[in-house]
Subunit: 138 residues, 2 copies
Amino acid sequence: MASAAKSNHSVHFDGDEADIGETLNRIKTHKGVVGIIVLTQDGVVLKSTLDDETASSYGLLVHDLVRRSRLGIRDFDPSNDLSFLRIRTKKHEIMVAPDRDYLLIVIQNPNSENGQYEPLRLRTRPETADDDGDKSAL
Amino acid sequence: MASAAKSNHSVHFDGDEADIGETLNRIKTHKGVVGIIVLTQDGVVLKSTLDDETASSYGLLVHDLVRRSRLGIRDFDPSNDLSFLRIRTKKHEIMVAPDRDYLLIVIQNPNSENGQYEPLRLRTRPETADDDGDKSAL
């Protein structure tokens, strides 16, 4: 009988690209999931369901938080280690499962009832002259 | 009818010392709670159930993580904000509820079945000459 691993706490990649793709596809179908990012331990985006800018911005923040949490926790007790990180915001929840080689980040909208929600994008893109060029030019 | 606010997500202090003491006493009785720390927004330990060194070390780490999470999240979307942070480690879980004026940190041992667990203390106290003096001197 196939056992379904339901917990996000036990995510293990073998460094196999096909495995990662399969895992992402499985998670993507979960209700409320608005984005998935897989980072290398160096913070490089390996896979993502988001646009490049959003993925790398979230990746950078999460990578920094994981590194600092881990350092602090190991410093307090060398036999301890970070196993999961949840950052809940007013609009969504960022869940981070640190694996041996990768960091899996799942961004979820816990308020979504019907799976209807805005796609996740940064809202602070730097404005350039081109951005409003189409509108102002008559 | 009195409504019991069970969620840790809705902790509000009015800056009243008695209120804080009451909240701490209520939380302390929860199963698996090994430590509680209340920090000011500047990271100063206001109240704690731990020894001073442990409280200030955890306080410093959590204060830094909350500040960085908040900055990042607001930077991505100024209308968003941090509402809760959970740092799960192999040995315990650190839960952080950021309030307007305070940060409430609850450290829980989720593996405790019978409420029996070691008290939380740092394990990396700097070794001094005095530490092993008694053993090595014969």
